[in-house]
Every structure is written in structure tokens, then in C-alpha cells.
Amino acid sequence: MNTTTLPVRAAPLRTLASTDHKRIAIAAGAVAFAFFLAGGVLALLMRSQLAADGGVVSQNVYDELFTMHGSTMVYLFMVPVALAAGLYFVPLQVGAAEVAGPRVALAGLWLLVGGGLSMWSGFLTSGGAAAASWWGFDPLSDSLHSPGSGMELWIFGVMMATAGQILWAGCVLATALRRRAPGMTLMRMPVFTWSMLVTCLLTVFAFPALILALALLWAQRHFGGVLTGGLGAVNYQQLFWFYGHPVVYVMFFPFVGMVGEVVATFSGRRFFGYSAFIVALLAFAGLSMTVWAHHMFTMGQVTNKYFSLTSTALVVPAGIEYLDLLGTLWRGRLRFTTAFLFALAFIVQFLIGGLTGIIVASPPLDYGLNMSYFVVAHFHYTLFAGSAFGLFAGVYYWFPKLTGALLSERLGRLHFILIAIGANATFFPMFILGSEGMTRRIARYPVSTGWQTLNVVETVGTGVIALSVLLFIVNVVVSLRSRREAGDDPWGGQTLEWATSSPPPRHNFTRLPPIASYAPLLDLREAREGANA
């Protein structure tokens, strides 16, 4: 590809207006991480409330806390950080000099910033921030029950952040489909790129439903008569969950792709069952578009049998993906780096989240567990104990590529141990509490229930998670200051991003190696070893 750089005049503001996909992705990652920290503080407040049995904040404030915690983690952290990873690495992995639509990607960054600021500025309004949960169901979110401007700011904020995510997904999708280097056929794309491709399909074709739902909600608040009568409120839920379940997989597929890369590299093996993995990903993504109404089983207004069937069918592609990950590990020359430890924990912990998902995919069981802490435990095992661990696997794996410096392995292992203990101490007791009948979103519970001990355990666990995140920040700061040089390929990577400098130049590559498979650098190493032998 023939690419020329035009000079930019105002250098100090370069980062804010850069069209380099790597700068945009790093900025997006930093913004998302800042929101993760803010959302984490809200979680600490909620856990303090439940450990102290209702003595910290009022029910109204508690409503704001869980609404903004959930909204922040989904709209402003997990989805943006997943797409930011794609924005950085997909062009590199397919050998492209640039992302498709760099200005569009830049617009996505500013929409994320604007959306986040809008949502959080609700705390500055007299009525407080939005308090109608991260899904903002009508009529709880209408002008009668949520009259403050905090709800308005939440609606606009979520719309902006979501629009930005759709733009990013379009850029990454177009890059994977139309900007591949010569030789990089579809079936030679790395597993992470494939995982991002299906992620972007979900984002582009499911996320507009959320923008439509929120536009209707806004119209309902101002003019009325939009979501009222008949199935109005139910239709809002249909639209919301048409976004709301695919988004779960948008927060899963990129991390399973990251874990796939980490497992292959640190096993010293070619990824096992590549073709089956790709087919499973596409089928998984297709099925995940058809399961949204399992969130509405207990409403009695959806086709329960169909959605139960499709929800349960998800275990087939998920099983294939797990088999491929385990097959890659099998007889590998394992190197237990921090990234690899996080990847292993992802495999185990996400399994807990996935298996408990089968339970709530069954309508009769869901009738008993819906709105209980069992569901909270289930999705936190998928999103935090699963996806966040996958994310950290990716961070420890790719940090050297981003910065040219290695993270401290000693601090990394300590980070891993603490966060693994913290996550399981926080989320496992929720299964027990949910089974015993503790419902979601309650700021207080009777002492006679005997739930306080487990709630205290969870709160201590949350504190341990917070400590581990602090340790991670220390690790990043210390590693950047002391700078242990990583070189271009510190791990013996298999994919094209390791064939360029760390960090990569503006247009990514000065030259590309021959591409004959989905692991071109492994091909080169094997060819060299064969020649030496």
C-alpha cells in the first residue's frame, strides 16, 4: 500500500486529534481504564453498604451507585477497551499500514469521552445521577419516576458512547475485510483478529437497537405516548436486550481471542483446531444474536421455548472453543508467565460463569433465580473473573509491543494472586446468597436472614481486588520508569505484530515477512530450525 503522512501543525495537541490507530487505541484504553477505576470506587461503596447492613448510603443513593457502576463497566469500560484492543492490533495482525477510516475512529474516541462525561455529570445535578439501572427500563426511567436531568444525561451519554463503539467496530471490520496485506487471506488471519471480526459484526448489527431504544425512551420522557399502552414497555425491553445480550459477547470474544494468542505463544504450539475455532466463532456470534429474550423469560411476553433452545445451544460453539484452547495447551512447552497465568484463570473462571449460564437459560430454573444474586454472580464470573482476566492476559502479553518495555513479572504474579483471590471471594458467595433468596439491588436486608457474614466476605474480596488493581498501576509506573527493554519480540510471538518494532512506527511496518499461515512468525522459526537441523 502506498501511504503518505501529511504533517500536523499543532504538535502538543497531537494525541487529542491523532488519526494514528495506535494512539487512538491507547487514548481509548486510558479513558476506559479511568472509568474502570471510577466504576470500581462505586463498587467499593456498594459493598461497604452491604457489609455494614445498610448504614452507609440511602436507598436512593444506592440506586444511583449500582446504576452508574453497571453503566460505567459496560458502556465505558469493557466494550470500549475490547474494541480499543482491536483498533490497535487488528491492523498490525493483518499487515495493514493504517486502520480503515482513521477519522471515523478518532470520532469514536471523542464520542466515548463525551458520553462518559455526560453520564457522570449526572452526579453534579440536583437530582443526582441516573438511578434506573444500567438498562434504564421504562417506566422506571420515565419522567414521572426519574424526573431529574441525571437521567437525561445518562440517555445522551449512553447514546454517544454506543455510537462511538459502532464507529470503531465499522473501522476494525473494514480493516480486517479490506485492508489485509498480500498473502493474508481470511483463513490466515490470527485468532484474535477473527474474534474481533465477529465482535464487530455483533456491534455493527446489534448496537443500533440500543440507540433506537434510548431515542424512544427520550421521546417518551418528553412527549409521552411512545412506550405506553399495550406492549410499549415490553418493546423497550425487546429493543434493549437485542443489544443487551450481544454486548455480553462483545465483552467475551475479544478476550477469548487474546487468551488464544497467549496460550499458543506460551505453549510454543500452533493454535489447535484453527478452522473449527473460526467456524465456532461465527456460529457463536450468530446464535448470540438470537438469545436476547432469555432476559425476559419471567415476563411471559416472549417465546420462551425458542430462546431457551438457542441459549442452551450456545454450549456447542463454546465447547469447541474451549476444546481448541485446551488442545493448544496439550503437550505444549508451557511457560508460566503472568500473561499465561491470567489466561489459565480465564479458562477456569469463565467456565464457572458459562456453566451457571446454562442454569439460567432454562425458564423453570430462571423463574426461581431471576433478579437474585445468583444472576449477579453469574455475570460477574463471566465479565470480571472471565473477561477482565482475559484482558489482563492481553495487557501483560502486549504491553511490551505498546511501550517497548516489559512489565515486572514479580509484581505481575502478585497482582495475579491477589486479583484471583479477590474475585473469587467477592463473586462466589453471591451464588450462595442468590440461592438463599437475596435479591439484587437491595440496599438493606434483615439481620435474621444471616446474610451478613457472606456479605462481609464479599466486601473484603472487593478490597483485595482494589489492592490488586493498585499494584497493577504501580507495576505499570515502575516498569515504564525503570524500562527493561523488550525488543521487538520478547515472547516468541507467532503473529505479524511481533514482526515490527516495539512500539510500531507510524505506518506499522517497514517490511513484512512472507505470510503462508495464521502463524507466519512460527513458520519462519520452524523453517530456520529445519534448516539448522
Partner: protein, 130 residues
């Protein structure tokens, strides 16, 4: 490169099949039966994906594998300005006309900047092709 469109076409087709797979459940009567919105949403996603696949198919057929010289500006303040303006105008929908007007003004500045950037890009491309 035309194979790229196959991903979109195949996935759109899969969504279409999954939409049609709801039909056997139409016999379920009462509240647990089929609701039109369930067809409409999934069917719309399927149709949108198929259309996107067709567009990519046509574009790739037109461009083929020939190299297209691309000029990429290192930065675009106009894009950032446009989005900030649009964001303010959107929030203004909840807070009053004054904010919509401020946002629209900033967005127009950004749009003007984008036009200017586009001209510079075309000028640069012509230079490269000469």
C-alpha cells in the same frame, strides 16, 4: 479480495435462517407464543448484514486488487471539533435551545475543517499520482 464479502453474506444468511427458525414456535399460543418484534429485529439485522455484504462485494469487484494510493493526515482537529459540537447539540436537546445552537455552531466549524482537510487530501493525492 471478493471473499471478504462472503463473511458478511454468510453471516447475514445465518441470521436469516435463525429468524426463520422461529416459525415452528408460532404454534405456541398465548403470551409465550411468537411476537412480531422478535421477527422484525432479527430479520432487520440479517437484511442489513446481507446488504453490507453486497456493497462490499460490489466495491471489491470495482477496485479489485489494484493499489490505491492513500494519504493519511497525522491528525484531524476538525473531526474532534465536529464531534464535540454534535455532542453538545445532542445534550442540548435535554437542556435547551441555547446549548443546541452553541453545539451546532461548533459542529459547523468542525464540518468546515473537514471540507478543508478533504481538499488538502485530494490535492496531495493528485500530486502523488502525477
Amino acid at each position: 479480495m471478493r471473499r471478504a464479502a462472503i463473511v458478511l453474506l454468510a453471516w447475514g444468511l445465518l441470521l436469516g435462517v435463525l429468524t426463520a427458525a422461529q416459525a415452528p414456535f408460532a404454534s405456541v399460543k398465548g403470551p409465550f407464543g411468537l411476537h412480531p418484534i422478535e421477527y422484525i429485529m432479527l430479520g432487520s439485522a440479517s437484511a442489513a448484514c446481507l446488504i453490507a455484504g453486497l456493497v462490499v462485494w460490489v466495491l471489491d469487484g470495482r477496485e479489485g486488487d489494484r493499489e490505491i494510493p492513500r494519504t493519511v493526515a497525522d491528525g484531524s482537529f476538525a473531526t474532534a471539533t465536529l464531534i464535540v459540537g454534535l455532542a453538545l447539540a445532542l445534550v442540548g436537546a435535554g437542556f435547551g435551545l441555547w446549548l443546541i445552537l452553541i453545539g451546532a455552531g461548533i459542529a459547523m466549524l468542525g464540518a468546515g475543517g473537514l471540507v478543508r482537510e478533504g481538499r488538502a487530501r485530494r490535492h496531495s493525492q493528485r500530486g502523488m499520482l502525477r
